[in-house]
């Protein structure tokens, strides 16, 4: 039982670290703020949850697992808010590459939904 939990913990830790590396590669290679945010989400949510699961499998006590749950809930509640603010600031500072967008719903909202051609912009 102890061996199984330790192996699970090691797998979780390595997968979480791998997600961090993938996000860092995406940060260096992707072209604009929005696609870099897409890469940045991986270690912030899934990578962190995997690392926390790794800690939980290794420590296996109630108080520690409660702290880990607190960290997970807090990160899951705040990461979307921060990402929303960064994305909106990027859009409004004209840092978005529009040729990479398939659908620009913010432009539709700015036009009051009157111009269907804005969908293709």
């Amino acid at each position: 039982m102890t061996g199984v939990a330790d192996v699970l913990s090691a797998v979780c830790l390595i997968t979480g670290a791998l997600l961090s590396l993938i996000a860092a590669i995406g940060l260096v290679r992707f072209p604009d703020v929005l696609s870099r945010m897409h890469a940045a989400t991986k270690p912030q949510v899934l990578g962190l949850l995997l690392i926390l699961a790794g800690i939980g499998f290794r420590l296996r006590t109630g108080a520690d697992i409660t702290t880990l749950l607190l960290i997970a809930v807090f990160q899951l509640a705040t990461a979307p808010v921060a990402a929303h603010m960064v994305g909106r600031a990027a859009y409004r500072s004209e840092l978005v590459r529009r040729d990479l967008l398939l659908l620009d719903e913010a432009a539709e909202a700015a036009d009051g939904g009157r111009d269907p051609a804005a969908r293709l912009g």
Partner: protein, 103 residues
């Protein structure tokens, strides 16, 4: 377990270095904010992996503080990061109606 330690350390070190490259190169403030968030996530992952591999819970409160700090930091920087590209109609505060005034 030594293999796990070396693997996790190498992966996180490479991730932190690549993230630092993005923080240095920019080009905009928002790129640096996003990269700083990722760097903080890497630091949290490193602290957590160290706690797991050495089987101690000393650094878990630090993880809580770091999670809160990342949110407060990025939100407070981004809150003042919007530069109007074409005049004073875009402040950092407005919603749809200020966007709609744009040509």
């Amino acid at each position: 377990m030594t293999v796990v330690v070396v693997t996790v350390a190498a992966l996180l070190l490479a991730a932190a270095l690549l993230t630092l490259v993005r923080i240095v190169r920019g080009p905009s403030l928002l790129d640096r904010v996003v990269a700083t968030d990722v760097l903080l996530a890497v630091i949290v992952a490193a602290l957590g992996a160290e706690a797991a591999l050495n089987r101690h819970a000393t650094t878990l409160p630090i993880l809580v503080v770091l999670a809160i700090l990342g949110f407060v930091g990025s939100v407070s920087v981004v809150r003042f990061a919007v530069r109007p590209p074409d005049g004073p109609d875009t402040d950092a505060r407005g919603g749809r109606e200020t966007v709609g005034e744009r040509p």
